[in-house]
C-alpha cells in the first residue's frame, strides 16, 4: 500500500506539465520530482539561486558550491542558470516562476495558507514560502487532510498565523484535489477512488462545492 504522501506526490507529478518552471517547498513537495514522467522537461527553481533541469544527487564531501536549499546537488548545469539570492527572489516575487508547491498546516476557504508557525511556539523558519505565495500565479498546497490527532487542515478560517492571504489556488490531499479562491471557497474537482464524496466532506471543516465534472483520479499504480 502506498502512503498518503506518495499518492499526493504522484498526483501532483502527473498534473505538472512539460516545460513548467516550478519551485518545490519542504515536505511532500520535495518528494515529487522522482515521479515525473521522463518525457517531461520540468525546470526546478530553488531559493538560493538556481534554475535547473535534471536530477538531484546527495552531497559529496568538501564541495558545497552546487548545493540547493535541501543540501542536494543541482545538476545538468548546461541547461540551467545560477544567480544570487536577491535575483532568485526577484524571479519568485516578480511572478516569473509560474507555480509553487508547498506544504501547509492549514488552508482556508478564503484561499489563505498557514505553514510557518504554530501558536505559542517560536518560529523556526519562514524560508521562501511567503515570497513564493506572494509572487507565484499558481500556489499548490500538498498536505494530508488531517493532523496526526485527526483535526481537519482544510478549514473555514485559519487559526494559525498566516503565510499569505488569498493566494492558494489548489489543494492536493489523500482525499482528492480541490480548487480554492476567496470568492468561491473550496471546490472538489477530483477524488481518489477509495474515498466517497461524503467521506471527503466529513474530513473538511469548511463548505465544499462539488464540481459537476468531478473526476476519479488514476495515478497509474494500485492504491492498496
Amino acid at each position: 500500500m502506498i502512503s498518503n504522501r506518495e499518492r499526493i506526490a504522484r498526483k501532483v507529478a502527473l498534473d505538472i506539465q512539460d516545460g513548467e518552471f516550478v519551485n518545490f517547498g519542504f515536505g511532500i513537495p520535495y518528494s515529487i520530482p522522482p515521479y515525473f514522467d521522463k518525457s517531461k522537461k520540468i525546470f526546478f527553481q530553488n531559493e538560493p539561486g538556481v534554475v535547473c533541469f535534471g536530477t538531484h544527487t546527495p552531497a559529496e564531501n568538501g564541495y558545497y558550491e552546487m548545493l540547493d536549499a535541501a543540501n542536494r546537488y543541482v545538476c545538468e548545469l548546461a541547461r540551467g542558470a545560477f544567480m544570487d539570492t536577491p535575483t532568485s527572489f526577484a524571479m519568485i516575487r516578480g511572478g516569473h516562476i509560474g507555480k509553487t508547491v508547498l506544504g501547509a498546516l492549514q488552508v482556508d476557504s478564503h484561499a489563505n495558507i498557514a505553514n510557518w508557525k504554530t501558536p505559542g511556539m517560536p518560529a523556526t523558519a519562514i524560508g521562501g514560502a511567503m515570497d513564493l505565495c506572494a509572487g507565484c500565479p499558481q500556489v499548490l498546497v500538498t498536505m494530508e487532510s488531517t493532523t496526526k490527532t485527526g483535526a481537519p487542515k482544510m478549514v473555514e478560517t485559519c487559526s494559525y498565523p498566516l503565510t499569505a492571504v488569498g493566494r492558494v489556488t489548489m489543494v492536493y490531499t489523500e482525499l482528492g484535489v480541490f480548487t480554492v479562491n476567496p470568492k468561491d471557497g473550496f471546490t472538489l474537482i477530483e477524488r481518489f477512488p477509495d474515498y466517497s464524496v461524503d467521506q471527503i466532506l466529513a474530513k473538511v471543516d469548511a463548505p465544499v462545492a462539488i464540481s459537476p465534472d468531478l473526476k476519479i483520479i488514476d495515478i497509474g499504480v494500485p492504491l492498496d
Binding site: Y64, P86, I92, A129, M130, V165
Partner: protein, 228 residues
Amino acid sequence: MGKITTFEEAIDHIQSGMTVMIGGFFLAGCPFGLVKELTRRGGKLENISLISNDAASEFKMPHAYGNELIATGMVKKVTCAFIGHNHVAMKKIADGELELEMQPMGTFAERIRIGGAGIGGFLTPTGVGTPIAEGKPVINVDGVDYILEKPLKADVALIYGSVADENGNIYTTGVARNFNVDMATAAKYTVAEVRKIVKPGEIDPSMVTIPAPFIDAIVLAKEEDYLL
C-alpha cells in the same frame, strides 16, 4: 600584499556591539574558516548582532560552526529567515537569551541588497496580512498593498568566494553566490574567504561576480575547514 590578510587580522575588525553579516545558505557558500575564527573570540566579544540567512546553521555539519558561534554567547540578536537546524540558538531564544528577527527570505535578501545600494526602503507584497506586517507601514500603490521594509547594513561582512584576484575581484560558482554577493556591498568592511587566489587578469572580467570595490580583505580558505 594589498587586501590579502590572515583570518586573525580580518576578524580583529569585529568589536563588541557590532553588526556582522555571514554569507552562505546552509553549506553552500558559508565562509567556514572566518566563522571558526570569530567563534574563537568567544568570551572577548559581546552584544554582536548577527545577520545570516540560516544563522550559520550546521545543517548536518559535524563542525556545527553556527551552533558553536551562538553557544559562545557573543550574539545578542539574530536576523534570519531560517534557524530550525541551530538547536543552540533555538534553546537560547526559548530561554530569552537571544533576540530573533525572523524574516521572509526574499525580504531578508532584498533588505541586504538595498542596504548595499544606498536605497532607504522597498515595498513588497510579501507578508501583507500576516504577522510579518505588524508594526510596519503598509502602503497602497495603484490598488495593491505593500509592506515598507527597511535596509539591512553591517559593520563587517564575512563572505565566501570561489576565486579572488589580488585586487579583490571575485568569481563564485554555483549556488555559493547566494547572499555573499549582496552582503559584500552592505558592510563597511567586507572579508572574503576564497578557495584560490590568482593574479589580476586571470579572472575573465565578464565573469566577475563581486567587483573589487566591495571587497576590503581576502583570506585563503584552509581546505580542511571544508571537509565533513
